[in-house]
């Protein structure tokens, strides 16, 4: 029996986890700051992001049999490694709670405005916990299935939106100063690549034809970037930058515009599911990260694990007082608390691993 994780399925996870921070946060932040030059900021960010992705892949390649926790213990020693691992778990535990809050706000805003948060979260958490309990192999399979669904949705959205796109809305070109475009390209990297760190939970050798996995991760990374360039182009090209900046979820309002052959409309609830998938995969990966940490430390898993899930269920409903405060706090602190430490950790780990390799 093949016990290895599907190569493409695993690589496709990057497509979903990279999207999760854009819902309500990343998209509006970049739109409000880069204006009509946002697609340019994304393009620049995609190119610069390859440097971070390179670091990620190098750490992924280091000691292919080990999980991320074992790698850090090996690189930094038992004590420091444990402290780093604990800090990472705390960060991603909060990230998990944030994704739950985010999904609850999004679903209440767009689909079920009368349904209590707790019901939404319980229904959402059942498949999340089930997937995590089944392990990374079914998760990778699930990811490849929902990727196909998302891909079809993207193609259908492009098909339905091209006719209402106005190129003039993207003008005037180069009005935003380059420094702002650069700053936003860095924000793009921050939101896009920070959650990708979660994929390090899986040892590379557990993936089938592991030599090809780097190539596939790069392919899905490029696909994710193209998806965002198109998304920003369509949002600005259809609404104009001034109106786009008003929306909380411009990506949802965008698909509301779709009208196929003048009679198929109201398809936004179907075409917007890729955003739900992204939050779902992010929750799954962050919970898996916690699960593996508990396994790694041989802690009485069930009590802490399920205790944390139940606790996060309640915390996430009262995490922020309102969406304005919630989103603005995330915008302000995500890069400082998550991106900078994680990217620095990747860089230092990369340097130490090179140093150790040369020494050997």
């Amino acid at each position: 029996m093949n016990t290895k994780i599907s190569n493409k399925g695993f690589a496709s996870i990057i497509f979903f986890v990279s999207q999760s921070m854009f819902l309500g946060v990343g998209l509006t932040q970049i739109l409000n700051s880069s204006n009509q030059n946002s697609p340019m900021a994304i393009l620049l960010g995609s190119i610069l992001g390859l440097i971070v992705l390179y670091l990620f892949l190098k750490i992924f390649d280091y000691e292919k049999d080990l999980t991320v926790f074992e790698k850090f213990e090996k690189l930094y020693g038992k004590v420091l490694g444990n402290i780093i691992n604990l800090l990472l778990v705390l960060l991603f535990a909060f990230y998990f709670i944030y994704t739950l809050w985010s999904i609850q706000i999004y679903i209440q805003n767009k689909y079920l405005d009368k349904t209590p948060s707790i019901i939404i979260l319980v229904l959402f958490l059942i498949p999340v916990v089930y997937s995590v309990n089944k392990g990374i192999k079914p998760i990778a399979k699930l990811s490849s299935i929902i990727f196909i669904i998302s891909f079809i949705e993207i193609i259908l959205s492009i098909f339905g939106l091209t006719s209402v796109l106005e190129i003039d809305n993207l003008k005037p070109f180069f009005e935003t100063p380059f420094s702002i475009i650069l700053k936003n390209s860095l924000y793009f990297i921050s939101y896009f690549l920070t959650p990708v760190f979660l994929m390090l939970t899986v040892p590379k050798n557990q993936i089938e034809s592991s030599k090809k996995v780097n190539k596939n991760i790069i392919i899905f990374y490029i696909f994710g970037c193209i998806n965002f360039i198109l998304l920003f182009t369509f949002i600005i090209g259809i609404f104009g930058i001034e109106l786009s900046q008003l929306f909380y979820y411009p990506e949802f309002t965008l698909v509301k515009k779709i009208n196929y052959f003048n009679f198929i409309e109201h398809v936004e609830n179907i075409l917007s599911t890729q955003w739900l998938f992204s939050l779902f995969m992010s929750s799954v990966m962050s919970l898996l990260f916690m699960n593996k940490y508990l396994e790694h430390n041989k802690i009485n898993k069930k009590i802490i694990y399920y205790g944390f899930i139940i606790l996060s269920l309640f915390i996430s409903t009262i995490l922020f007082k309102n969406t304005t405060i919630g989103y603005s706090l995330v915008k302000r602190y995500f890069s400082i608390l998550y991106t900078i430490p994680i990217f620095l950790l990747l860089l230092i780990s990369f340097i130490i691993s090179r140093f150790k390799k040369n020494k050997d």
Partner: protein, 379 residues
């Protein structure tokens, strides 16, 4: 056993029955009117009558009105009159009274943008010389739902006459926010508004007592209705904004009689150049059409006659465009968007003067079923 238990729980939870509403428990709003009365908004909601059937003589719609300090409050107050919960997911028309529009259309659209259930794809119209609530009360035929009647009339006017232009909520908000351009708004009028016009009697006759008719367009400035354009100004506006798809242009072909040129395609390109620190806007109109009617005696088989007709059509289009440009100089609202055209290429533009050059090219490709007119053939 565990799996069956989980499946059973999921089956119970995922039935989609939570907080559900039956169709007869909701009132589907097809159009909303907004008037002002005693410093409050008087909001009218045209509700689709779900219980109406083919044989019934009942009206297909019911109109409820209610007052409030905000639009939402007025709609909530309406629940005291309506037996079921109002649902705005199928809203297709918003009619605003002239008074409210002059005070600011922008003051009343926030709720429609904010609520998720409402789609921003409905048309905003101004009721000219009549209360907005009366516009949604008039019964129409052949479209028995008045909102649908106005919607299809506007669509048809947009497509085939260039005499109006329907602005949807999203477009209105987008143009309002943009630099160097202001939105326009469609206008509806009611000819001979009478109480009888609000009953089904109005639809069972060949000559309805009250009729909803489309006006030309209204120009806005900073979100407020500024003035109404005339027919020729509206056509000129549509030519400049490249919104003409099909229309008919009456062109004089001798001292007394006219011919009709049916425009079948138009492409207007507006570009701007900065020469000696002065902005020059070029409006290039390329129109293709056919001769739809020719009541003169000139020989239509001659190339010179066609050329003359093309020249006269070009003159007429130039006339329309000049009318719109004149209207623009007499209004504060930048409805033609010429300043925006400059801004898109020269972002540092700050309201300096500019010149406009118009060039029109008309090609008449076909003459219909006959080569010449009967009158021309006899001469």
């Amino acid at each position: 056993m565990k799996k069956i238990f989980i499946i059973l729980i999921i089956l119970l939870l995922l039935t989609g029955c939570y907080n559900y509403k039956e169709l007869n428990e909701i009132s589907i709003i097809s159009s909303i009117s907004i008037d002002k009365e005693d410093d409050e908004y008087l909001v009218g909601a045209q509700i689709m009558n779900a219980k109406q059937d083919e044989e019934s003589e009942n009206s297909q719609v019911i109109v409820y009105t209610s007052k409030g300090k905000t639009i939402n409050e007025a709609l909530r107050n309406m629940t005291m009159k309506s037996p079921s919960k109002l649902y705005g997911g199928h809203l297709s028309k918003l009619v605003i009274s002239e008074e409210v529009a002059k005070e600011g259309i922008i003051n009343v659209i926030d709720m429609f943008q904010r609520l998720t259930e409402i789609r921003n794809e409905f048309t905003i119209t101004v009721a000219k010389d009549i209360d907005a609530k009366n516009v949604i009360k008039v019964m129409t035929s052949p479209e028995s739902v008045p909102a649908e009647y106005v919607k299809t009339s506007l669509e048809s006017a947009d497509l085939s006459s260039a005499l109006s232009y329907s602005t949807k909520l999203d477009e209105f908000a987008s143009l309002y926010l943009k630099k160097g351009i202001d939105p326009v708004i469609a206008v509806v009028e009611v000819k001979n508004f009478k109480k009888k016009g609000t009953t089904t009697d109005n639809t069972s006759t060949t000559d309805p007592v009250s009729k909803i008719v489309l006006g030309n367009i209204g120009v806005t400035n900073e979100g407020k209705l500024e003035k109404f354009l005339t027919k020729n100004e509206t056509i000129g506006y549509n030519f400049i904004r490249n919104q003409v798809q099909e229309m008919l242009i009456p062109v004089k072909c001798d001292d007394k009689y006219y011919s009709s040129i049916s425009v079948l395609g138009n492409d207007t390109k507006t570009d701007v150049k900065k020469v000696n620190n002065k902005y020059k806007i070029n409006i290039n109109v390329n129109t293709k059409g056919i001769i739809a009617e020719y009541n003169c005696s000139k020989n239509l088989t001659k190339d010179s006659t066609i050329k003359e007709l093309e020249k006269n059509t070009e003159k007429k289009i130039r006339y329309y465009i000049n009318k719109a440009l004149e209207a623009q100089t007499n209004t504060k609202g930048k409805f033609l968007g010429l300043e925006r055209t400059i801004y898109l290429d020269y972002p540092k533009y700050s309201n300096e003067d500019y010149n406009v050059k118009i060039s029109v090219n008309v090609e008449l490709n076909r003459k219909g079923e006959i080569r010449n007119s009967s009158k021309g053939a006899k001469d």
